[in-house]
Subunit: 312 residues, 2 copies
């Protein structure tokens, strides 16, 4: 659910990657099409984005490069070549070939200014990123990060269980008189609570010394992120197919109810007075369902019919 009308350009499926641009540590996500792009950046204190399409790119290219003659496609192809590796964290542009500076502007905007060369002439570009809407931050960061934390917490619990089983096996060998040929192989009995306390005390001191470090989004977490959003998207597609199916069924049921002219129609009768003050309540109720999101996705048939009725 791209709630903000953000382009459905597959950016969600891209992992965040730690990048260092102009000495700034950022997490970046970008998606470059033929003559369009969508980028997201965060320093973990704010999140910025910019989406640009062909005409806007052409106009800004002209604004920043008065003498530019190249068609937007050639210009954009060069831009991609220089910028894409930087934003994917794979490499910095070679010294002299291109220079990118990062500037935080008044109003909370973030500007990435590129100076490069195209056919021997200086070429300028500017990514004018604005703070992303909270819905975008939720979609691209909060939701996946919570699912990742939950998944990892489950994995920790399962691995702890496996360790307890290994200890039971070891204990049985020992009770039957087995001994180790190499004493260094002896492990301590795993005790969940003692272990966790000591692990957290040690690890949090290190993790939190880099508390806001974008580097914490390492390769393992990038892979998990991709897996989580891929599963989430699959789930959404399935739900959306189910919704279509339910709506079709409900529509058919509503029509046949109407034909029978039964009790339901009474619920839709309103006095003019009630009707006047009713709009906000209706809006609120419908939007309330929207707020509840997935939790409300499987209402009873009666509930669903009522919700549909609000729009009639």
């Amino acid at each position: 659910m791209e709630t903000t009308g953000a382009p459905n350009d597959g950016l969600l499926q891209h992992p965040w990657r730690p990048v260092a641009i102009d000495g700034c540590q950022l997490l970046a996500k970008s998606c470059f099409g033929e003559t369009r792009y969508h980028i997201l950046l965060t320093d973990l204190h704010c999140v910025w984005e910019e989406t640009m399409h062909s005409a806007a790119i052409q106009s800004r290219a002209q604004e920043l490069n008065k003498r530019l003659q190249a068609p937007v496609k050639a210009f954009f192809s060069h831009l991609c070549e220089v910028v894409r590796p930087c934003l994917s964290g794979s490499r910095q542009p070679p010294e002299g070939e291109a220079n990118i500076s990062v500037m935080r502007l008044d109003g909370g905007n973030l500007s990435l200014r590129l100076k490069s060369k195209l056919a021997g002439l200086p070429l300028h570009w500017e990514f004018r990123c604005t703070p992303a809407p909270v819905t975008v931050v939720c979609l691209h960061l909060v939701q996946p990060l919570l699912s990742m934390s939950h998944t990892l917490q489950q994995e920790v619990e399962q691995l702890e269980g496996l360790l307890v089983s290994k200890d039971a096996e070891i204990q049985d060998y020992k009770e039957n008189g087995a001994t180790l040929s190499r004493a260094r192989l002896q492990t301590e009995i795993f005790e969940r609570h003692t272990y966790r306390g000591s692990f957290l005390a040690k690890t949090l001191a290190v993790v939190c010394s880099d508390h806001h470090s974008v580097k914490n989004f390492g390769v393992d977490l990038q892979e998990l992120y991709t897996a989580v959003v891929a599963h989430g998207s699959m789930r959404k597609r399935k739900l959306s197919e189910q919704d279509e199916l339910v709506t079709t069924v409900v529509d058919a049921t509503t029509s046949s109810d109407a034909d029978r002219g039964e009790a339901d129609s009474e619920q839709n009768q309103t006095s003019p007075v009630a009707e006047a003050g009713d709009h906000i309540v209706r809006t609120a109720t419908t939007q309330q369902l929207a707020t509840c999101g997935l939790a409300e996705r499987a209402p009873s048939k009666a509930k669903k019919k009522k919700a549909v009725g609000l729009f009639r």
Copy 2:
């Protein structure tokens, strides 16, 4: 760093708790003082907040309860009693005692409307929550969730290592002819990659069937959240103390440099022309340092002096 001027009321240290209000699944955080409160709510698609202090509470209480005579303190004390348990997920208000409805309003706002009774008279309250700034979402969700994911990923790796050690111990017993008295205690050899693939395939299907479920923020994650933000805050306090120390040292150094009238002063000399176009660059450079946040917190002495110079 409460970058938005949000009240430093300790809300960061509170864990998020899954709550169900009026059928809506939300994560909530709240902090109630004597006659003030600060609440944060999210359905994982948006994040809302409201901060209210004594005078504003009094004025809204009067607006919503024309006949109210009670002093703000008595009113607020009753409000806390009813609302606090709901927002901490500990219990719903008993049927008939109070009713809270959740409404998503135009403009993306979220309203929680309370109907209760005080001294036998109906009592109304409304939490008028607005979408939280992205910086607040980063502070209360993105930063801690990333640190939590990173910590849990480390824990997974460490537990995997322990399992490999257990297997080495078991293997040694076996090679020395040990046998199990109870065959059911036998475990499979732990193979990191096979295990992870199969774990993720199974778990993500379940986690992502509840992809946006606030219930994923379970008790274990709440505890980890609290530990992570507590360590983060400790770290910030230490850094802030260090910063004060560095600033004092730098101030002293700058003064003595100025007394000696050395080369540094040349760098601050600007022609009138250069000065005119210089403001935006200066602003950008200073703000750039701010953007880079903690990554830039330990600059060389020379760098620090330059940054300080920009404000003089």
